[in-house]
């Protein structure tokens, strides 16, 4: 058995920090020497402490990438676990520098809540999981079912909308934390569990008998997941946005964690040279050093490697929508030039 060092359902706690929220997050991070990154309370595949207490997952890796690009050290990250309700307030109030926590990009959050979204790291959708013995094959057969859902999420609102649109009376049972919702579903309190498809897959692997649960095929909403930064600090928003684009572009250009040093020195491809700093100084546009992407990719690899490591190997999730645009998916990074 493993001892879990950091269980983390702790809401935003930050040390007394100097520096205003509205400008100068870059200076603040440089001065503190670490990046305060808001993550989840423990979602397998995205941000979850492993048995040594190290945070692993897609979201955790993007935190590392930003830290590497900004500070040159991928381990200079302070992971702050956040409950669903606190994830927006934590970053808008300055207690974390960015939130990488499976947060859906919506208009309301982007405009009216004091935060800005950066770049999509995962295109997800909301779905339902039911127990196999209920014998239903489509979400439209769920009339009268009780559904476990977490509060403070778009999931809650989408569930209500889905019920209304399809004339189903769905009885919501609302929980504060995702794990309570999953636990309640597993113990039989609800007929169905609803959250993002990727997390349904993740939680299904943690059940005693995964085959006793079925994920229904309907995807009832668009859930583009992106990291959040505080509203008003344009430079910091640019930094996080372009680190994400850089990681995605790295896969497109064939740069991997293994060959990045070699590519930086010897590649003849102008796009690679611009990105890795061999020619020009793209890092300087956003206030970082010219080796910003070199550091980031050396630390975590490209998007494909991150996906493979965190989602395919452990959860069995295919690329699907999250493949590169050239491979049939919709991952399309903006040009770094």
């Amino acid at each position: 058995m493993h001892k879990i060092m950091k269980l983390g359902t702790i809401a935003a706690t930050a040390m007394v920090a100097a520096g205003a929220v509205s400008a100068g997050t870059l200076e603040k991070v440089r001065e503190a020497g670490e990046l305060a990154c808001g993550v989840s309370e423990g979602v397998p595949g995205f941000s979850n402490p492993n048995s040594d207490g190290v945070w692993v997952g897609l979201d955790a890796d993007f935190c590392r990438a930003v830290a590497a690009a900004v500070l040159g050290d991928a381990n200079a990250v302070r992971y702050v676990p956040l409950a669903s309700k606190q994830k927006v307030l934590a970053v808008s109030s300055g207690q974390v520098d960015m939130t990488s926590r499976t947060t859906t990009w919506t208009m309301k959050r982007d405009s009216a809540e004091g935060v800005d979204f950066t770049a999509v790291v995962y295109y997800d959708g909301q779905g339902f999981m039911v127990s196999a013995e209920a014998g239903i094959n489509s979400a439209k057969e769920m009339d009268g079912a009780t559904v476990c859902v977490t509060t403070g999420t778009t999931t809650e609102l989408n569930l209500a909308d889905f019920g209304r649109a399809n004339n189903l009376s769905l009885e919501p049972v609302v929980f504060e934390g995702k794990r309570e919702a999953v636990d309640a579903y597993a113990s039989g309190r609800c007929d169905a569990l609803t959250t993002d498809m990727s997390q349904l897959a993740a939680f299904r692997t943690s059940f005693a008998d995964p085959s006793a649960h079925k994920i229904l095929p309907e995807v009832i909403s668009k859930e583009p997941l992106a990291p959040l930064v505080a509203h008003g600090d344009n430079q910091w928003k640019d930094i996080v946005t372009w680190v994400v684009y850089g990681i995605i572009t790295a896969e497109e250009l064939g740069v991997t964690q293994a060959n990045v040093a070699d590519m930086a020195a010897n590649s003849a491809d102008p796009s690679v040279q611009r990105m890795l700093g061999s020619s020009g100084d793209t890092g300087g546009f956003i206030g970082l050093s010219s080796t910003w992407m070199l550091d980031a990719i050396s630390a975590v690899g490209n998007y494909g490697e991150i996906y493979e490591r965190n989602l395919t190997e452990t959860l069995g999730l295919e690329r699907g929508l999250n493949a590169q645009w050239k491979d049939g998916g919709i991952l399309y990074a903006m040009p770094i030039r």
Binding site: H2, M5, T9, V16, E180, A208
Partner: protein, 366 residues
Amino acid sequence: MDDNTIIFQPAPARPAPSSRVGPRAWLRANLFGGWKDTVVTLILLAILALTLPGLVDWMFVRATFFGDADNCRQAGGACWPFIVDKFNVLMMGVYPQELGWRPAVCAIALIVLAALTYTNRVRGIVLIVAWAILPVFALFMIGGAFGMREVDQSLWGGLMLSIMLALVGVIVSIPLGVLLALGRYYGPPVVKSLCVAFIELLRGVPLITILFMASVMMPLFLPPDLVINNLLRIQIAMILFSAAYMAEVVRGGLQAIPAGQTEAALALGVSRARTIAFIVVPQALRHVLPPLVGRCIALFKDTSLVIIVGLLDFLGMIKNASLDTTWLGFQAEAYVFAAFVYWLICYSLSLYGRELERRGPSAQKR
């Protein structure tokens, strides 16, 4: 008298019949006194017979004491290795385990001081100073100072956090409550109304709303570049909440002091401030020590509410541990253990309160 006189020798007394003294009599009087009594006794005995054996069976007979989750599931009883495995985390939260000796030292200091207080070995100003220094000492030990490695407050949790919140809450809120009560009782109209407004406002709303205020609203009240960490905000909220209740308790004590005390002091030329400080307050506090201890118990129980604003105190870690995927299905053990710990601490405090009442001024009146 001649030798034929018979002097009356009373026969030795026989023991009372067994139906009047001894166990049979006690049973008749207390358990089977009348038909109503008998019915009640029988019903209670039936209920106990149905529930107790099952409980003992689950907790001890079929329970697993060593092993892992699979052993427990096979045995079917309580799973105590779960508690043993999680013990460090339940006590200290996600505090780095290699530094666990630091909270342990503070715990020992607390127990020693509590024992000295209960047995009345240390009193007066020394006692007060010792209790005031304890949280400062704990802060330095646990948080790290004077060259020891610093541990960020977001990592504090478990029973250590519950006790710290309660201890600091009590120690700061009692003087604050005394000041509020004095302001309400002796103050000029403006001060009096402010104190009344503060006390009634904080007593009239649930603690959860005040915790939400601290967690969500306080960051809005502060200037944008001043950030107070979550734990400190919650601590401030608990202090203010407790101070309002302490003020009400102390007010009862102030009302119990006869007017003659203050009049005599004035007649002797003692200044108003000195009268309040040295004559009124000590007597008032001595009168209300038992209810004050009651408020301490209530504050300790109220620290369990911080789970709602995201701090992982003892109850929070218990809940977390019970949701751990390796140990699924052992929630009952977690909550039973939590109940045991809370009950132990609160009951001991209530015994202390009764002891104070026994020793106190009202008990000494003839």
